[in-house]
């Protein structure tokens, strides 16, 4: 278990270094965005990992309620924390990109709004765990919120997209960016690196959860 985690961690570090090099140095500036496109190489992977984490919470929550095994809850809790972290990072990256390119920190872009709402849902998810009567109860209640929240994601996304686009043309349109092959490569490397990083963080966090649960159980016995 620990060697697997070190392996994933090592691979993540190597790929992140490669992604950093390709993204900052080797890849060309974009024809329209110029060098700002380099922000995309951390922003898009952050958003990708956030959705990966939401998916993990969904699956792990269902498995936990169905099978009742502690491991699934540990995975769900860990992924829930990572979902909140990476939605926040994706939002920050998107805003830093938006300021120079769109001229504003925030636009009512569907993806930004959906990500912000997702962040709020998972803030609530973590809060319920924190404030529940006891650990087991918190796990079950959080699983319910995780399932409802994840099911709601596509509906939220489409409702936000349609709300803006069907009524009035969006004031700022993110044009279809045709990406040159080197840029696609840079993005791909970073996506893979972030996916491995996510796996590493998840493994570490699950181990922590397991140790703390064991500590609580041992403390209760003695």
């Amino acid at each position: 278990m620990r060697s697997l985690s070190s392996l994933v961690g090592g691979a993540a570090v190597i790929l992140l270094a490669a992604g950093l090099y390709v993204g900052l140095v080797a890849s060309p500036p974009d024809a329209f965005q110029g060098d700002y496109v380099r922000i995309m190489y951390v922003h898009v992977p952050s958003a990708f990992v956030a959705y990966l984490a939401v998916g993990t919470v969904f699956v792990a929550s269902i498995l936990y309620l169905w099978r009742g095994r502690e491991v699934y809850d540990h995975v769900a809790h860990s992924a829930g924390e990572l979902a909140a972290l990476f939605t926040a990072l994706a939002l920050a990256g998107g805003m830093i990109w938006g300021k120079p390119v769109w001229g504003t920190w925030w636009t009512w872009d569907a993806r930004l709004v959906t990500t912000a709402i997702l962040f709020l849902i998972f803030a609530g998810y973590l809060l319920v765990r924190e404030l529940a009567e006891d650990r087991r109860r918190g796990a079950r209640l959080a699983a319910v919120i995780g399932i409802i929240g994840a099911l709601d994601v596509p509906i939220i996304h489409y409702s936000v997209v349609w709300f803006r686009t069907l009524h009035q043309p969006a004031s700022i349109v993110r044009g279809d960016i045709k990406m040159a092959p080197p840029m696609v490569t840079a993005l791909m490397i970073n996506l893979l690196a972030f996916a491995l990083l996510y796996l590493y963080l998840l493994l570490q966090r699950v181990r922590l959860e397991r140790l703390e649960a064991a500590g609580a159980a041992a403390g209760a016995e003695s």
């Binding site: 849902i121 319920v128 319910v144």
Partner: protein
């Protein structure tokens, strides 16, 4: 007792309780009226603004009342007794859902009349359609709301958590309600899409929430 009669009996009991005191509906109506007055005054009371203000007021006022039917059981220590009755807890969910839906529908009726008068919207001819749109949204709102009301019982700071949990999840109801109401008022096309979205929201959560209700209600 059949499942249907159980559900009706539970909903009737809750509504009777509410009818005697009328606390929840009064509080919700006053808050909704305040939101309408505030937004109408600050933003300007042009008729096109009415749908947005209607749904924001409805959603915010609903946050006050969503937890009430469930909370009342807890305060009177009646929930344990209810849970002791044999059979599935799903009827408990449907009873609470029905009571909440009726409660919010009354609020909707009050809000529609208020907006018609204050915003000078000519809604009287379209009242059935507007009412239908409202109930469609409310059904979904109470579907999730009833589940969350049972959920926050076991969490410290119950009422504080409710808007935090429910508002983000219920965002599609508000957005869909606003656009569908606009479509009805202006006879504009494009309402079908929103109708579909609200219907999907309702069906999805009315299917899933009763299953999860069992999880929430189970004694740990």
């Amino acid at each position: 007792m059949s499942a249907w009669r159980r559900t009706v009996a539970l909903a009737r009991k809750d509504l009777l309780l509410e009818w005697r005191g009328r606390e929840t509906i009064t509080a919700m109506a006053v808050l909704a009226l305040l939101v309408v007055l505030l937004l109408g005054f600050v933003l300007g009371a042009e008729p096109p603004r009415a749908p947005a203000i209607l749904w924001v007021a409805l959603a915010l006022a609903a946050m006050l009342g969503v937890a009430r039917p469930t909370q009342a059981e807890v305060e009177q220590q009646a929930l344990e007794t209810l849970l002791l009755y044999p059979g599935s807890r799903e009827h408990l969910y449907w009873g609470k859902w029905a009571a909440l839906t009726v409660l919010l529908t009354v609020l909707l009726a009050l809000l529609l009349v208020t907006l018609g008068v204050l915003f000078n919207v000519d809604l009287w001819a379209k009242l059935p359609a507007l009412f239908g749109v409202g109930v469609l949204g409310i059904a979904g709102l109470s579907a999730v709301g009833t589940l969350f009301a049972a959920l926050v019982i076991h969490v410290r700071g119950r009422e504080l958590l409710m808007p935090l949990l429910l508002l983000p999840v219920a965002l599609p109801v508000v957005l869909g309600g606003v656009r569908l109401t606009e479509a009805v008022l202006t006879d504009a096309p494009g309402g079908g899409l929103w109708f579909g979205m609200l219907a999907v929201f309702d069906i999805l959560f009315l299917l899933v929430a009763p299953i999860l209700y069992e999880v929430v209600m189970e004694e740990a």
